[in-house]
Symmetry: C2
């Protein structure tokens, strides 16, 4: 197939890196167009693959690689082409969104819901890629390259999953008017590109906060259109097939056109890619939810707020619970204003060292998405 | 401009029918491509315009004509090309969605909110097209033609606006778990195509029920992808410009391609258009919210339910309020299961003729959108 002269186009739906990578590169080398749903392959080896395709003048189409049922690649590359993209925030892993939805709706623990999801086939036997954010980071890496004209840099993505998320944080978030979602976020900041996947508090009134179950949604902020949202099934045989067929039609329409007139693989021509760096997570500026267990004693809050103030971290909201009957420890929940992650990490270490603070501090990032 | 041989493409942003129609047809006759944001022109004269463009081998691009900031035309024509579209339901008029959002949030009357909206420039001095559903019907006509491969038939669209919507119906809907939105709905039914704009009760938990203010959203149900939703700004200078520029890029990419390889204007080639009829509103099957004011007297409900049962209209939910202190009349609110509109109209006439029923009956259509 990869060599036969009668074959113009190869569809790769094997998944994984090898032998998919060898097959795709060989098809390209033989002058064949490629349609693929392989997000891992593109996120990790996309630069090599697209360079080869560009040199050969063939197309590599990959709508099915990101949020299958949602034509988000087309929207980003073509529909929003007039926009300077400011940021993208997406629920792009159905398994983890299903688990979070069930945890919130039923008050069940992560472990309980995961076990059920595995029994029902919503989660794989080895769920690591889904629940630890790796799958979302693959998709985010691809969208980031399209949005900002940077090479694919999956290795520099920050990835934190939902496996350590506690039920009480979902409840406290709710009390404060927020939902917790596993978001993939990429943003053009002043000094670089943010590329991060992690549990995130978002205002409950945002449309994307109300995306439940295995559904996916991608929120794109363009400078001209403002916020736009794209919602649909992220996986499954039929939604994936829908995206593959749309790619087949696109490639067929464009294959007689001069390669210079086709939509570039990553929206930008290879010689226009920028070398803006991916920011280390410590350099990211965002807001934070902090939960700490403290002794119910005078001066505790003063010590904590002093440590925060010394690092220019200002507090947006706070809940201090009364200690449960017969206990002398209580929870303090703080929401901070936007601040540098590095400063928060430093403050957390200092607060954890206080003799009145018990356990480790829970830290969840927070985004207003407006 | 329309005749100059150096000009390849004309952008029409005049709005209205004339002189836009003459200009567009003349540009096409002279072999020029056209980019337009003119929904009224396309909904009313699209068949003539697209036939002329097809005969001349030029493109007419119109992403800006429907929900400016949302690349919905591209999603329908290209992204979902592998799908048989089952239905589309859209919030596609920002002014009326703003008014409904304010009425619900503040408990204000239609007239109050409209006056404020006019003062703030959100509604025009003559708001008829927006609040009576005409603007939404223009956009719906265009989407329907793309989704189902039928000619544009704006004249056959059923159009009912929000100007008679009462505050109490918004409150009763809320009590029953629904929101009222002005929806444009087009559906492929067994005997024809539904094409209708009217206030609609939709379950409050649906994402589209939570689209507030001037924002637009289009829910598209495809047989392969299932439900997908597209959300963004529907109007405004920058979102419209974003769509116009995307069209310019598209036309520029495709203009060297053989016309047979381009995306057809209405997704279907002209010789594939079907002559499936647009259904008269009486032939539409949907559910209904009925509010009636009745004397608080034995037998009233028996008479009403008998009239409904005789016409095979079954009841899904009912609220009967206690009469307010010192009054002997009360409100009955009924939600029906899916039934033929003609039967409901007939039942309403019979119920209104009962001596125990006061005032006219309020009837609002209802859609589950699943």
């Amino acid at each position: 197939m990869l060599a036969h002269p009668d074959i113009d186009l190869v569809v790769e739906l094997i998944g994984g890196i090898e032998p998919a990578k060898t097959f795709v590169l060989e098809a390209i080398a033989n002058g064949k167009h490629v349609v693929t749903a392989n997000k891992a392959l593109l996120a990790r080896h996309g630069n090599e693959i697209f360079a080869a395709a560009h040199a050969k003048g063939v197309m590599v189409a990959f709508e099915a690689a990101v949020a299958g049922g949602i034509p988000i690649i087309k929207a980003l590359r073509e529909g929003l082409t007039a926009n300077r993209i400011e940021w993208i925030a997406g629920i792009i892993n159905g398994t983890s969104n299903f688990i979070l939805s069930e945890m919130r709706a039923r008050g069940a623990s992560f472990a309980t819901v995961l076990t059920e999801a595995q029994a029902h086939g919503y989660a794989e036997a080895d769920p690591t890629y889904d629940i630890e954010g790796v799958d979302a980071a693959h998709k985010l890496t691809i969208m980031s390259a399209i949005a900002f004209g940077v090479p694919m840099q999956f290795a520099k993505a920050y990835t934190e999953g939902i496996s350590r998320l506690a039920q009480e944080d979902i409840r406290y978030a709710e009390e404060l008017g927020y939902r917790i979602k596993l978001l993939g976020i990429t943003r053009r900041a002043a000094t670089g590109i943010e590329l991060r996947v992690h549990p995130t508090l978002i205002p409950a009134r945002r449309l994307i906060a109300n995306v439940e179950g295995v559904m996916n949604a991608v929120l794109v902020k363009g400078d001209a259109v403002g916020p736009t949202l794209y919602y649909g099934a992220g996986a499954g045989a039929e939604p994936t097939a829908s995206a593959v067929i749309a790619d087949l039609v696109d490639v067929t329409r464009m294959h007689t056109a001069d390669p210079e007139h086709r939509v570039p693989h990553l929206a930008f021509q290879p010689d226009q890619l920028t070398d803006v760096p991916i920011l280390p997570i410590g350099d990211v500026v965002t807001s934070y939810y902090l939960r700490m267990r403290v002794d119910d004693r005078p001066g505790v809050l003063a010590d904590i707020t002093r440590i925060l103030a010394d690092r220019d971290i200002s507090i947006e909201a706070m809940i201090q619970k009364e200690p449960p009957e017969g206990q002398d420890r209580t929870d303090i929940i703080l929401l901070t204003h936007r601040t540098l992650e590095r400063n928060v990490v430093d403050a957390i270490a200092k607060i954890e060292a206080l003799p009145t603070v018990r356990d480790t501090i829970v830290r969840i990032r927070m985004e207003e998405l407006n």
